[in-house]
C-alpha cells in the first residue's frame, strides 16, 4: 500500500551543467553530492557575503535558466545544504510499521475515536464551505463523506481489529476501509465503482488525523540523503531527523520561535521556515539549495548558483574547522577581559557539542522538550534521569536548568479539555502555568533538586513579570526543599536561583528583583517581542523585530546596571547573545556571560578574542546615543568590519529563549 506522495527528484549535476537543455538530462534518483557539502553539520554559523550580494542584486529572474526559483523565508538554522529534495505534502502519509510495541489497546481505541471525530468535523466544515461556494451537489457528496466517517460499522469493525488483533488505529481503519474499497471496485456499475475514490479520500482523511498527532517522518526511510520540503514539521518530527540523511529542511509555515526552529539549530540542520505556499512548485524540482543564513530556498538552481554555493559551503567547512580547532583557547579579549561562553541545550545529547566547542557550562537547559515529545507529562524519575545525564556529563561545570516554559496549549495536549486562549503569548504560559499547576511544577522541582547534588546545578524561572510571581515560585521551591530534607534526600545547599528577564516589566523592576535572586539571564527574544509589540513569528511584521532597537538596548542596560549594583551575575541567553554583530555591543554594555546554541560558540569566541574591551565600551556608548535600529546596526557592522575584516555578522537563527 502506498499512501505517501513522496517523490525523490535528483539530477546529476555534471550532466546539467554541461547540457544546453538540462531538463532532458534528468537522471532520476541519481544523487550527486559535492564532497564538500555532505557534512552539513560541520559547515555552520558562517554566512557568506558574496552570496548575499548576489541575491540582493537581482530581484527578477536570476539567471538565464528560467527554471530556477528563489524563495524567501525565515532563516532558523544556519548553514547551506544542497541536494535532491523529498516533498511531503499535506497528505504525506505512510503507515508506520505494524509492530508498534508495546501495544496499548485502550490508547489505540482512544486514538481511533479521536481521529474519527476530528475527521468528521473536518468533513462537515468542508461540506459547509462547499455548500456556499460550489453548490449543493458538491456539498452533498461531502455530507456523505461525513456520514461514512461516522458510520457505526466503521467504528465497530475498527475497534474489533484493535481489540482482537492488536492492530494500531491506523492499520485497523485502513484495513476496514480497504475492504470496502475492494468491494466497490469490483462492482460492474462504473458509477458505483467510482465510489471507491470517495472511500479512499475518507480513509486518507482519517489516517491523516492519526498521523498528524504523531511523527510522520519517523516512518520515512530515505534511500539517499535529501532535503525535506514540507508544509510543516512538528518539533518531535524535526527532533527525529538525522542530519546525515536530511542535510536541510524547509517548510511553508512556521516562525523563528517555533520549537521546530530550535530543534533544527540544535541538530545543526540548515533550515528555512515560513516560505508560504511553494510545495506545488517544488514537487517538480530536482534539486534545491537551502540557505539557512539568508532564509532562502533556491529551487533548481542554475549551474552558476550551484557552483557559488558549493564554493561557499567548502569555505565554510574549512573555516569552521579552523575555528573548532581553537575551542580550547579561552574567551578573553585582547586587553584581558574574560567572558564565559555557555551553551543553550534542549537534549542531553547536546552536551557533547557544548564541550567540543569549548563551552564552560550550560547557560540554558530548556526542559520543555521532555514534555513536547511525550504523550503524558514525564514522571519525576524520567525528569531526574534527563537532568542527571546533563549535569553529570558537564562534569562539574555550571548547568542552569530552566523550569517549564510551555504554553497552555502544549499542556492541553495531555488533557481532554484544553485551554483556549485568544492570545497565548500574553496568556497562561511558562512560569504562570507552573504556578497554576502546582503538581506539575513541584514534580519538576523535585527532579531538579534531586539532580542538584550531581554537579553545579542552578535553577531559573522563566517569564517572571513581577515580584509576586517570583516570591510564589520561590515559596514553592522552599516547600519542596523542605519536603526533600524531611525525607533525608540530599540536595545542593544554597542552590542558586535566578530568573529570565524577558518581560519589559521585569526589566524595569530589575533593581527590586535583583534583591531576591542570585542571577539574571536576559532572554532577548521575548524581551524584544514584548517591548516592540512585534510577533516575531508573523512574517508581515517580522521586519519590525530588531535586537538593535534603542528601546531594547535601554532595557538591557537597565537590567545590567541593576545586577551590577546588587553584585549578581547577569547573562544573555537569547539569539542576540549568539550573533557576532551584537557580541561587542553586549560586551561593551557590561555582559560577561553569553549563552548560545553550541555551534555559534566558535565564531563568538573569535570576535571576543579579536576586539578589545575598550573598543566595545566606546561603541556601546555611541550606540546608546543613537535613535534608530538602522543607525545602531550600521555602527556595529562598521566596527566589526574594521576590527575583524573577515568576521561574519549573521542575522542568523532567531532562536527562542
Amino acid at each position: 500500500m502506498k499512501l505517501r506522495d513522496c517523490s525523490v527528484h535528483a539530477t546529476d549535476v555534471v550532466d546539467r551543467r554541461s547540457s544546453a537543455s538540462p531538463r532532458k538530462n534528468q537522471v532520476a534518483c541519481n544523487t550527486q553530492w559535492n564532497s564538500g557539502m555532505r557534512p552539513a553539520t560541520t559547515s555552520k554559523s558562517e554566512s557568506v557575503q558574496p552570496l548575499r550580494k548576489d541575491v540582493q542584486a537581482s530581484t527578477g529572474p536570476l539567471s538565464s535558466d528560467s527554471s530556477m526559483e528563489i524563495l524567501k523565508g525565515i532563516a532558523v538554522s544556519s548553514g547551506i545544504a544542497i541536494g535532491p529534495v523529498v516533498v511531503f505534502d499535506q497528505k504525506g502519509l505512510k503507515l508506520p510499521a505494524l509492530s508498534s510495541t508495546p501495544f496499548d489497546s485502550a490508547f489505540e481505541l482512544d486514538r481511533l475515536d479521536r481521529s474519527l471525530e476530528a475527521a468528521r468535523i473536518e468533513a462537515n466544515q468542508a461540506e459547509a464551505e462547499a455548500r456556499s461556494r460550489l453548490g449543493s451537489q458538491y456539498a452533498d457528496i461531502l455530507m456523505a463523506h461525513a456520514s461514512i466517517i461516522s458510520d457505526p460499522a466503521l467504528r465497530r469493525e475498527s475497534r474489533d481489529r484493535i481489540e482482537r488483533r492488536q492492530l494500531s488505529a491506523e492499520h485497523a481503519v485502513n484495513e476496514v476501509l480497504e475492504s470496502y474499497i475492494a468491494r466497490l471496485e469490483k462492482l460492474a456499475d462504473p458509477h458505483l465503482a467510482a465510489r471507491a475514490a470517495d472511500v479512499r479520500d475518507i480513509r486518507d482523511r482519517i489516517l491523516f488525523k492519526l498521523f498528524s498527532e504523531e511523527p510522520r517522518l519517523s516512518a520515512v526511510d530515505l534511500k539517499e540523503p535529501a532535503l525535506i520540503l514540507a508544509h510543516d514539521l512538528a518539533p518531535s518530527e524535526a527532533a527525529r531527523l538525522d542530519p546525515k540523511s536530511v542535510p536541510g529542511f524547509a517548510t511553508e509555515v512556521g516562525g523563528g520561535s517555533s520549537h521546530t526552529a530550535i530543534v533544527a539549530a540544535a541538530l545543526e540542520i540548515p533550515a528555512v521556515v515560513g516560505l508560504g505556499r511553494f510545495l506545488d512548485r517544488a514537487r517538480g524540482c530536482r534539486m534545491a539549495i537551502i540557505d539557512g543564513d539568508e532564509g532562502l530556498v533556491i529551487l533548481d538552481p542554475d549551474p552558476a548558483t550551484q557552483e557559488r554555493y558549493r564554493r561557499a559551503a567548502r569555505e565554510r567547512s574549512a573555516r569552521f574547522e579552523v575555528l573548532a580547532g581553537q575551542s580550547d583557547l579561552p574567551a578573553v579579549t585582547p586587553d584581558g577581559t574574560r567572558v564565559e561562553l555557555l551553551g543553550n541545550i534542549e537534549f542531553s545529547a547536546e552536551v557533547e557539542a557544548c564541550l567540543s566547542r569549548g563551552a564552560t557550562g550550560v547557560g540554558l537547559y530548556r526542559t520543555e522538550f521532555l514534555f513536547l515529545n511525550a504523550q503524558t507529562p514525564p514522571t519525576e524519575d524520567e525528569q531526574f534521569s534527563a537532568y542527571t545525564a546533563v549535569v553529570e556529563s558537564m562534569k562539574g561545570r555550571p548547568v542552569t536548568i530552566r523550569t517549564l516554559d510551555l504554553g497552555a496549549d502544549k499542556l492541553a495536549a495531555f488533557r481532554d479539555a484544553g485551554y483556549l486562549e485568544a492570545n497565548p503569548v500574553l496568556g497562561l504560559r511558562s512560569l504562570r502555568l507552573s504556578l497554576r499547576e502546582p503538581d506539575l511544577f513541584r514534580t519538576q522541582l523535585w527532579a531538579i533538586l534531586r539532580a542538584s547534588v550531581r554537579g553545579d546545578v542552578r535553577i531559573m524561572f522563566p517569564l517572571v513579570s513581577n515580584l509576586t510571581e517570583l516570591r510564589q515560585a520561590k515559596a514553592e521551591l522552599d516547600d519542596v526543599i523542605a519536603e526533600l530534607k524531611a525525607q533525608g534526600i540530599p540536595i545542593r545547599e544554597n542552590l542558586p536561583v535566578g530568573i529570565m528577564v524577558e518581560v519589559p516589566a521585569a526589566a524595569l523592576m530589575a533593581d527590586h528583583l535583583a534583591k531576591e535572586v542570585d542571577f539574571f539571564s536576559i532572554g532577548t527574544n521575548d524581551l524584544i517581542q514584548y517591548t516592540l509589540a512585534v510577533d516575531r513569528t508573523n512574517e508581515t511584521v517580522a521586519e519590525l523585530y530588531s535586537a538593535a532597537d534603542p528601546s531594547v538596548l535601554r532595557l538591557i542596560t537597565h537590567v545590567i546596571r541593576a545586577a551590577k549594583e546588587r553584585g549578581i551575575e547577569v547573562s544573555v541567553c537569547g539569539t542576540m547573545g549568539g550573533d557576532p554583530l551584537y557580541t561587542l555591543l553586549l560586551l561593551g554594555l557590561g555582559i560577561r556571560n553569553l549563552s548560545m546554541p553550541p555551534h555559534q560558540l566558535p565564531e563568538i569566541k573569535r570576535v571576543i578574542r579579536g576586539i578589545p574591551l575598550e573598543t566595545a565600551q566606546r561603541v556601546a556608548e555611541e550606540a546608546l546615543a543613537l535613535d534608530s535600529p538602522q543607525a545602531i546596526i550600521s555602527l556595529l557592522q562598521e566596527t566589526l568590519r574594521t576590527a575583524l575584516p573577515d568576521a561574519t555578522p549573521t542575522k542568523a537563527s532567531t532562536e527562542p529563549c
Partner: protein, 110 residues
C-alpha cells in the same frame, strides 16, 4: 417491559437512474437512523445494515434493482413506511442525481 419486536418487510424497487449511489444511500441511512428499529436490506442473498452507509454503498443496487427492506422493533411499521416512500420518490433526486449528475470525485476543495 418486554414488548415483542415487530418485524416488517417490504419489497422496493430502485428507480433512479444512477442507482443507490452515495447521496441516496446517505439519505437512506439518515432516515433509518431516526428509527429505533433495526433496519436490514436484503439483496442477492446478502443482508446489509440499513444504518451503515458503507454497507449500503457496497450493496450495488443499480437502477431497476429490487431490494427487500426489513425493520424490526417497536417502530418497524413507520420505518418501513418512511423508507419505502424515500425509495419510491427516487430519493428526491432528479434523473441524473441532482443537477449535473454525480460528482466523480470529492477530493480536497480549492
Amino acid at each position: 417491559m418486554s414488548e415483542e419486536p415487530t418485524v416488517v418487510r417490504r419489497q422496493v424497487k430502485i428507480t433512479n437512474a444512477l442507482g443507490l449511489h452515495l447521496r441516496p444511500a446517505d439519505k437512506f441511512v439518515k432516515l433509518a437512523m431516526q428509527f429505533q428499529s433495526e433496519i436490514r436490506v436484503h439483496y442477492n442473498g446478502n443482508v446489509f445494515n440499513g444504518k451503515s452507509i458503507l454497507g449500503l454503498t457496497t450493496l450495488a443496487a443499480e437502477c431497476g434493482t429490487c431490494l427487500e427492506l426489513e425493520a424490526s422493533g417497536a417502530d418497524a411499521a413507520e420505518a418501513i413506511e418512511a423508507l419505502t416512500e424515500l425509495v419510491r420518490a427516487q430519493f428526491y433526486e432528479d434523473e441524473y442525481g441532482s443537477g449535473s449528475g454525480e460528482i466523480q470525485s470529492a477530493g480536497p476543495l480549492p
